[in-house]
Amino acid sequence: MTTTSAPPAATREALGRTLVKLRNDGLDIVVVDADLGNSTTARKFRDEFPDRFFTVGIAEQNMIGVAAGLAAAGKIAFCSTFSVFMPGRCFDQIRVGVAQPQLNVKMVASHAGISVGEDGISAQAIEDLALMCSLPGVNVIGPADVVEAEQAIEVAARTPGPFYIRTGRSKLPQIYDESYRFELGKAHVLRPGGDATIIANGLLVHAAVEAADTLSQDGIDCRVLNMATLRPLDEGAIVAAARETGCIVTAEEHLIGTGLSAMVSQVVTANAPVPMNAVGLTGYAESGKSNELLEKYGLTASDIVREVKAVIERKGQS
């Protein structure tokens, strides 16, 4: 399973149409928007259900507060904006207003990471997963393709409690087809393998699969885990990867040391210490085309290949 024949699609495209479907299925969904509904695709819901769509204007903090109130009154309250603004602007509203009372607020945040491109650093969310994962009781998901994003949104709608789902702007080949079943809190094994494990999420899952294919030509048999759910984290899959493959490389479109790499390291060091390397960002990037930025800031398949080879060298040393 590498990519399906479906046309490339961005994970953000999942939102509007999935919300329409879920409302048609009878779920008590409402949507709160803060003037980015065209970009996040939430506005599609407004076309079908205008009385269930509330815009608060450019006022993200108010958006979260209103969604919390709607959720407390029994609604499944979705809200959406760019990933930079969701936790960035609204952290305290989310912390006290949503996470602590465990309300049914579903935050779907688009345009994540540096692949947003030309807008530059103010628009490039590279800390959002760290912020959201720091909140007890919030489910955090970074889907790898549009099929997984649709299913994650459906799971969020049908599962009580707060969710944060991170989507992207770039069109990507589809990894999964309709037969796929996203499971909350479960890593998905995209490649079996015993020499090393690459644990990735979001955009970097694509590079991870490509890297594993390249490495297999050198006789290196890599396991690839799509760790779409960061909270709750699939500790079992991480411990098994450490024990069975003896080394791990994490890959994420996010700051190293605060998101996936930090969370995997914590589980590995506590349960089955093995060498680990990380592919990810170490600081803010700049404006540029998405693919140019991914290359310049080291988020490509060849960066993963290099780190896998390096981490394998350290196997058995301590």
Partner: protein, 274 residues
């Protein structure tokens, strides 16, 4: 210092800045033409008549400050900065490209003249209050000008800032609201209307002036009035047209944030004129 142009010269500057905006968003195939074109006369008046500033001494502690709170409108900002001589005009084609100083949203430490890192709406006015308070504390005469979008005024943080500027009676601070009536997705009045902004701001302790934001003489008179108003900050509510000067962009939300095709750019430049 850049501050001697006649009204005709200012109009010519405005046309050149409009042309730069079109060149930048066309080359980049992204960026924000609508809210840049609506602010052209505001920046022209400020950079070429109202403000005391010296491009060869951009860090002068006594310079007047221009703070672009609606940080997506870098095309008009860079257009004005290059026309004022802050950086070579040849550089504008690098807008939003890898390794360029001309970042998509304004960032300090890139080109000289950029006062604040922005791009997250609703932060510039607080920053401007800080600048104005520092001027008062240090006994400096510089003035601080802050440009906001009307959609941006929906952010609650601005109202916290409006309140404190009124309380501190900052008559060395002047806010300009580009009231073009359009935000990202749609029209302001159909998204979250702002209503009587002048009355609201007067209630927050500001002196409010409403002008045609494309009439440079009217803007100059308003800035003059702001300068003469003591004991409170002034807000200039500039009635403008988003996409002003390019017929197919005018008042169309679709042109908030995208670049035109080469053919559209040609038409735009023809409409703007030399």
């Amino acid at each position: 210092m850049v501050a001697t142009e006649t009204t005709e010269e200012l109009a010519a500057k405005a046309r050149r800045i409009r042309r730069h905006i079109i060149t930048m968003v066309t080359e980049a195939q992204s960026g924000h033409p609508g809210g840049s074109l609506s602010s052209v006369e505001i920046l022209t008046a400020l950079f070429f008549r109202v403000m005391q500033h010296d491009p060869s001494n951009a860090a002068d502690p006594d310079r007047d400050r221009f703070v672009l709170s609606k940080g997506h409108c870098t095309p008009v900002y860079y257009g004005a900065l290059t026309e004022a001589g802050y950086f070579p005009v040849e550089e504008i084609v690098t807008f939003r490209q890898l390794n360029s100083r001309l970042q998509g949203h304004s960032k300090v430490g890139t080109v000289p003249g950029v006062e604040m890192s922005a791009g997250s709406l609703g932060q510039g006015l607080s920053y401007s209050i800080g600048q104005a308070l520092a001027a008062r504390l240090d006994g400096r005469d510089y003035r601080t000008f802050c440009l906001l979008g009307d959609g941006e005024c929906q952010e609650g943080s601005n109202w916290e800032a409006f309140m404190s500027a009124g309380f501190y009676e900052l008559d060395n601070l002047c806010a300009i609201i580009d009231r073009n009536g359009v935000q990202n997705d749609w029209f302001v009045d159909e998204t979250m209307p702002l209503g009587a902004l002048d009355a609201k701001l007067e209630a927050f302790g500001w002196h409010a002036v409403t002008v045609d934001g494309h009439d440079i003489d009217a803007l100059l008179a308003a800035f003059d009035e702001a300068q003469r108003t003591k004991g409170c900050p002034t807000v200039i509510i500039a009635r403008t047209v988003k996409g002003k000067g390019v017929s197919f962009m005018e008042n169309d939300p679709a042109w908030h944030g995208k670049g035109p095709s080469p053919e559209q750019a040609e038409q735009a430049l023809a409409e703007i004129g030399e």
